[in-house]
Symmetry: C2
Subunit: 334 residues, 2 copies
DNA sequence: ATGAAAGCGCTAACAG
DNA sequence: CTGTTAGCGCTTTCAT
């Protein structure tokens, strides 16, 4: 009924081995000077008692917990799950651990910040669509270095890593303009910098090619909102024949509605997504998409998080070029 | 370049407010007795300095960190992402936090245990396919209470919550036997208790109905292994017309290969999955599946984790009945 | 190389 | 109600 357990302490081990507590500590400290004999004695005692050094007082002493908070929103979109997965692996590879924080509403951000600040995390990686500016201010009060994934916030304590959304938008325009006449962009939410850049690039690309500007409908990045977007786009007089969606999930919803309406993809409508999720490669959709190069993004994010870049801790804004993957949804053979 | 930051301490606040350190501590302790005047003074000082109580020494003192470790394997399967999501939400709702631990290989389990033991987590929830018995022993040495998700391990320190896989298997047999003649089961890996029970129930159900036993091929739960299973099943002389897959992702892979071979689902082959993932409900597959009732599973898991059940901390084995959702893949209208 | 002792920032008696 | 004091289990001087 109770959670009471007492973990074995270094003092317990010291007593058991008949040595000082400091000796135990040294045995478990990588660079410390202990004689082989002593080390053996201590390790034996530790093994017998099932001792693991307690990282809490260690953190208290050294002022570093080895905990990195990772804030996520919704994991329904497999892209976000993938990001979390890779971040976690990389963080663990450095010997640190992930404090996972799921943020439900943007109002909940404040209290989650207090929570993770309480655990004295070494840094925070935010995988949230938006982390408002007042929030960034609060963070600097707490003195927590932050790196945002797919955002563009930048303050003294906040850096951001994002996909090169704008140039991807241009590339999408170029690909679709090869065979299309009427264009559409399924947007994300107003506050999202990624969606904004994708749209901007798409519009600019079409303009440069002398094409008509795209129709715009918005979405909330979900499958369902992709379906809703399709209902709007393919109901009126002028139907688009080329659609760039803000992400893959929206494209899936759109395509499913297209099919239900008897429209074929790619013959009647070409579709491009964004994120390069696994499902996009399956036969069911074979969706052309932008692979954001997650490995590179994650690696850079971690470098910035640990302050291992030239710029050190100063907030920076970095961009990773995505890779266009052409599939059947835009007429590619395979 | 350095991660050096010093968080504001209660002593800092006390000095700033001209009161004792204990007064600060009390102000931030829910049930403590502090005068309104004192509380105000302290809170003002805390606000000015951006103070958040440090949970590390608190944990050191009270012997409870408020951290629950959640071990996950691969999040590629959206079912696991969903589980993680719900677990995290529930844990955070109790004011606790999640220490996310991704385990890559089963060999890595050992070192991950040491890590999380170091953080003195209050409990561990394992969402891994397998947590071997020697591992369970190691856990009891460390005195960490464990609850396994979808497993059947049970020791003094380890409890398990799982879907009622066996009766689901029986139900799958009953549904498929309505229109089928030749049955197949796409199995999971040998060590998995869930897969074993699903298969056992399916076989038993068919036998009771006087049907032939199913053909069996195995998979590793992935989409790709579902494809491979289909290549095997639909290549020989006798083709199954009714397939029960160990999970949804395997079913997706199988269905994609079916289609490529020109076989129609459900006309030529009826397919059932397991997990009730979101994608199973999309038009692209419309897959009949078992919804394991995640909410109930998560709730029970958390109750056991926090030792809030009648049994208290003793290891127990509990089962949640899943819900069969019939869709087009077995001939249901919608 | 080892032990003794101080201190990290908190909680929890114990006085007053 | 408030301040003082003693730890929680480590790391880290400082002696030896």
């Amino acid at each position: 009924m109770t959670l009471e357990r007492r973990y074995v302490s270094s003092t317990d081990v010291a007593r058991h081995a008949g040595v000082s507590q400091a000796a135990v500590s040294r045995t478990f400290t990588p660079g410390a000077s202990v004689s082989p004999a002593m080390r053996e004695k201590v390790l034996a005692a530790a093994r017998e008692l099932g001792y693991r050094p307690n990282l809490l007082p260690q953190a208290l002493q050294t002022n570093r917990t080895g905990l990195i908070a990772v804030a996520v929103g919704n994991l329904h979109n497999s892209f976000h799950a993938e990001v979390l997965q890779k971040l976690t692996e990389s963080i663990q590879a450095t010997g640190r651990q992930v404090l996972l924080t799921k943020v439900t509403s943007s109002y909940a951000i404040e209290s989650m910040l207090d929570q993770i600040a309480g655990y004295r995390v070494d840094a925070l990686i935010s995988n949230l669509a938006v982390l408002s500016t007042p929030m960034a201010k609060r963070l600097s009060e707490l003195r927590i270095p932050v790196v945002c994934f797919n955002s563009r916030i930048k303050t003294e304590w906040v850096s951001s890593v994002s996909s090169d959304n704008r140039s991807a938008g241009v590339a999408a325009a170029e690909l679709l303009a090869r065979s299309g006449e009427v264009f559409a962009f399924v947007d994300g939410m107003a506050e999202s910098p990624s969606a904004h850049a994708r749209r901007g690039g798409f519009q600019q690309g079409l303009e440069r090619l002398g094409r008509n500007p795209p129709m715009i409908v918005s979405s909330d990045y979900s499958y369902e909102s992709g379906q809703a977007a399709a209902e709007v786009l393919f109901d009126g007089k002028t139907r688009p024949d080329s659609v760039f969606c803000v992400n893959d999930h929206v494209a899936f919803g759109l395509i499913d509605v297209l099919r239900r309406k008897g429209l074929r993809c790619p013959e009647d409508v070409r579709v491009i997504g964004y994120d390069g999720v696994t499902l996009a490669g399956w036969d069911a959709y074979s969706l052309t998409t932008f692979d954001p190069n997650l490995d590179a993004m994650v690696e850079l994010t971690l470098k910035l998080t640990l302050g291992e870049t030239e710029e050190g801790r100063k907030g920076v804004l970095r961009t990773i070029p995505p890779l266009l993957i052409e599939r059947r949804s835009t007429g590619a053979p395979a």
